[in-house]
Amino acid sequence: MKRSAWFIAVALFAYMTFAQEATQKHPKWQAPPDAAAKKNPVGDKPEVVAGGKKLFMRHCAECHNEDGSGLQDAANLQLPEVQKQTDGALFWKITTGNVKNGMPPFSRLSDDERWQIVSFLRTLKPASQ
């Protein structure tokens, strides 16, 4: 019994270490053109952005930090490489995730909620600005 417990513990540790290694940035992660071309239907009214901020804090801040600057392997969402992407591309990335590289899909959020997060992402600016 003791031996099996040790075996399970070691196997779990090895698996988690492997999983941690697998969580790395993936620069070639690109939205398909038709998805990238989609327009944001919820707009950028203050109440929409405030709702997006609430969702961001609940679902995204753990990895991307409260100001979007990124923690550990998660992307810095303030960077021009992110901000220059279309609303549709960001929406697609939130929806489908990049599971292999550590980002879960958020398709469980409604379409409107994911667009609200995109609206909030547009407000993220580097601390110096």
């Binding site: 779990l12 698996y15 988690m16 999983a19 697998a22 969580t23 919820v42 203050p46 109440e47 929409v48 405030a50 709702g51 997006g52 609430k54 969702l55 804090m57 609940r58 679902h59 753990e62 990895c63 550990q72 929806t95 489908t96 995730g97 990049n98 599971v99 292999k100 590289n101 550590g102 980002m103 879960p104 899909p105 398709s107 469980r108 959020l109 409604s110 379409d111 409107d112 909620e113 609200q116």
Partner: protein
């Protein structure tokens, strides 16, 4: 010993009242969707199944604790500790289960498969009814007898799930094998549909906004075994579910399950409380000088 078991049951149910409601996940008790726990998060939940078998059999109360950890974005692991208390009989610990869910496909698709593997070490007094498989079991024994019969079970599920038009639609096909007895392979299913009551997040933090509520409907039951596949002598339930996320990381769920067949418990009530510890893995890693 009996007092200890009662204390355990009370602690489990109190924790449940303080802790569960699958944060932002579809409103299901039995059905699994393709949503996995977010990486490095720990979800602590307590659920209770309350049933009244009727025909002179006493009512029971079966609480369990869930510890669900998001190891990666494609792998979630979960430990269950379960107990049971029967009116006029006793309260006891009925065993543990370890389950793992894997996403074989790394992108979101119209239909998303998830593979589920579980090992359970329980005794025959277990009544949490986390899934229904096989055929109807014979009349209830007293706990003192049932606890002596151990079951080492392996269970697999094929989970198919889709998020479409703000609905989640999920179906599970279950295969279970009791390694302790020659019962063949037992089969079961669970189907569910769930939707949040509002699709836009409001600007303010609110507890009672519609966006914090989700409603679902589940149907689950047994499909016989390799000794006789089909609906003969099986039990099926239809269960509406209501979920309320009352804070950023805590939620409660309630579901009355109504029996659709002549056999089984006429009604089951399920209550659960879930609390999510965000970044649990990172915090533990920091504690040991990593992360």
């Amino acid at each position: 010993m009996k007092t200890l078991m009662l204390l355990f049951a009370a602690a489990v149910s109190l924790l449940g009242l303080a802790n569960q409601a699958r944060a932002q996940q579809p409103a299901y008790f039995v059905t699994y969707s393709h949503e996995l726990e977010e990486p490095r998060n720990l979800e602590i939940g307590t659920s209770t199944t309350i049933g009244s078998p009727g025909s002179g059999h006493p009512a029971f109360f079966a609480p369990f604790i869930e510890l669900e950890y998001g190891a990666t974005a494609w792998w979630t692991s979960e430990l269950y500790l379960e107990g049971q208390s029967t009116a006029g009989d006793s309260a006891l610990f009925t065993g543990w289960r370890l389950e793992n869910r894997f996403r074989p496909l790394f992108r979101e698709h119209v239909i998303n498969p998830v593979l589920y593997f579980e090992y359970a070490s329980t005794n025959e007094a277990s009544k949490i009814m986390k899934e229904i498989v096989g055929n109807v079991e014979t009349a209830a024994e007293i706990n003192a007898d049932a606890r002596r019969v151990h079951a080492h079970e392996v269970e697999t599920k094929l989970i198919l799930s889709s998020n479409t038009h703000n609905w989640n639609l999920s179906g599970n096909f279950i295969v279970e094998k009791n390694l302790s007895e020659d019962e063949g392979f037992e089969f079961g299913y669970a189907l569910g549909a769930s939707r949040k009551l509002a699709t836009m997040a409001s600007a303010e933090n609110c507890r009672f906004c519609r966006e914090n509520f989700a409603a679902g409907l589940e149907m689950y039951g047994g499909l016989g075994s390799t000794n006789g596949f089909g609906l003969h002598n099986t039990v099926h339930y239809l269960a509406p579910v209501l979920a309320w996320q009352f804070s950023d990381n805590a939620a409660v769920q309630f579901s009355p399950a109504v029996r659709l067949t002549r056999v089984g418990n006429p009604v089951l009530f399920r209550i659960s409380y879930i609390y999510e510890v965000r970044g649990f893995g990172t915090k533990v890693a920091r504690l040991f000088g990593g992360g």
